[in-house]
Every structure is written in C-alpha cells, then in structure tokens.
Symmetry: C2
Subunit: 131 residues, 2 copies
DNA sequence: CCATTTACCTACTATGTCAATAGTTTAAAT
DNA sequence: ATTTAAACTATTGACATAGTAGGTAAATGG
C-alpha cells in the first residue's frame, strides 16, 4: 500500500508542474492548494530535495521548483525515493537475496514475475502522463 | 509489501497440497517442514479456516486439510483473505471511495489501472501453478 | 542594514501494525 | 481416562505512519 509520503510527493510534483510560471513556489501555496498540512509536507519535500527531484531556494522569493522537465521523471523513481524499493516481498527488497530458502522456494518465481510487472508499470509512467 | 501472514499462508497451502495423502496433517508437521513457529502459524491457519480455505479437525488424528482442489484456489483469494484488499491506495481499498478529491484527483486513474493489473495477476494465478 | 520571508533542522508523540510468545480451554479418538 | 491437536485469550517489543512543535539559517525587498 502506497502511503501518504509517496502520494503527497506525486501531488507536489504535479502542483509544481502546473503552477511553475518559471519561478519558485513557496510550500505554503502548495499546502493550501493541495489541502495538506504544511508542516508535514516540509518533511516530505526535504527528502525530495535530497533525492534530486526538486530544488529548494531559501529566503524571500524562494520556494521549490522542479529540477527537470515533467517527461524526465518516472513515477517509479518518485515512489522508490519516498517509499523504498517497490518489492512485493522482503527477500527481493534486499540488494542480495539472503533468504536460505531461495533455492527451494516455490513462490519466488511468482514474486519475481510480479515485481518485474510492477517495475515496468511505474517506470514506464512519466510525470507528464498525469498532467 | 506482502507480510508473513500472506506468505506463510501460501506456504501452508502448498505444503498441504503436496503432503496430503488424503488425510489431515497436524500443524506441528507443517511448522517443522516449513521452519515456521507453530504458535505463530496457529493464528494464521485459524484465519484460513474461518475464511474457508482449510478445514480443521480437532483431536487425535486431527489436523488441517484443503477444502478444495489446488486448481480451485486463486493466489489472489488467499492474499486478500490474509492481507486485506490488494489495493495500492487507501481510497480504493474502501468499499465506497469517500475521498473528497476523487472527482479532481489526477492520480486516481493511474492507481485504478494499477490495481486492475495486480488483481488480474493474482486472481489469474492458481495454487496448482505453484506445485 | 534590517525586517520579512522562506527553507531547513531537531525533537517529540499518538496510533497502529507486525511478528511473535505464553498459557488455557475445547474437541475428538484410542 | 489419557492423549493428541485444534481453538481461544492475552500480552509483548519493535517498528512505521502521520503527524505536531519550535527553533535556526539563508536570502531578498525596502
């Protein structure tokens, strides 16, 4: 289940894409338009800046703006940054699958197939597809 | 992310399908074969019995057995019973989508499309496909 | 230069879920 | 009656979620 972190992040991206006017947008405006607590959004956009999705500009006239064009963001990239790996099971979320049962596991092929499908879906969708 | 409840449930089903011999199998045997705490499995199989996946037989010679043939169970049915709705977002997990933004939400079509894909995947897979 | 604006940072909290564990009771067969 | 095994009730520690509160740092307009 995608949590508010991932969902709000996508909404912030859409909001910025549709209200940019070339300049920075203060978080206060986004919070009001999206009806989301500004305090909570602060935590979320902080991670988005750290992850390279947004640029933050301090001081008067500051705010946030996209660092790329909307068609250059995949939804999968946004979700993985905010929610962690999109894996369906813990053993596939690890960098190396350390499960002792992996050689005999009768369900692993299904989870692998599923994860591939999910990955293709979200990395195929671009931010520009949602505008 | 699918939790141990769903994953263990599928493993119990597979174990029963492969070791039935027509009779009941005590949980102790399954727990030992699958290397899962019997106490924890008790909680899981209790819900599986309540949900109609298994039959439980008390007393000496008792245990658990499948109530249908393996090809008559879909993986989606097992997962939904153990994990709740397979929805990617909270608003689609409700029986009626009560989100006040649903009419203007720019992400809802994507979540709906994704959920349909997930549903088709897991309800198309049968227990017999994993044996 | 200074007040204002805005991002950025640290800490805290309430609630809920996950993955168990422990102990007791009921049901059925030998 | 004894044994076997399911079924039931309660509790626990760790972690994640969804926030809130308050303070610091940076940049700009006047």
């Amino acid at each position: 289940m995608i949590s508010t972190r991932g969902r709000y992040a996508i909404r912030v991206m859409i909001d910025l894409a549709q209200n940019n006017a070339g300049s920075c947008i203060p978080l206060k405006d986004i919070a009001e338009r999206q009806q989301i607590s500004k305090k909570y959004l602060e935590i979320i956009v902080k991670d988005m800046v750290a992850g390279g999705l947004l640029k933050g500009v301090s001081g008067k006239g500051g705010g946030y703006r996209l660092s790329r064009r909307p068609e250059e963001y995949s939804i999968g990239e946004i979700l993985e940054l905010m929610e962690g790996p999109l894996s369906s099971v813990a053993c596939l979320a690890e960098h190396q699958n350390t499960c002792p049962r992996k050689a005999v596991c009768q369900t692993l092929p299904m989870w692998t197939e599923f994860d591939q499908m999910v990955h293709d879906f979200f990395f195929g969708k671009k931010l520009s597809d949602l505008l």
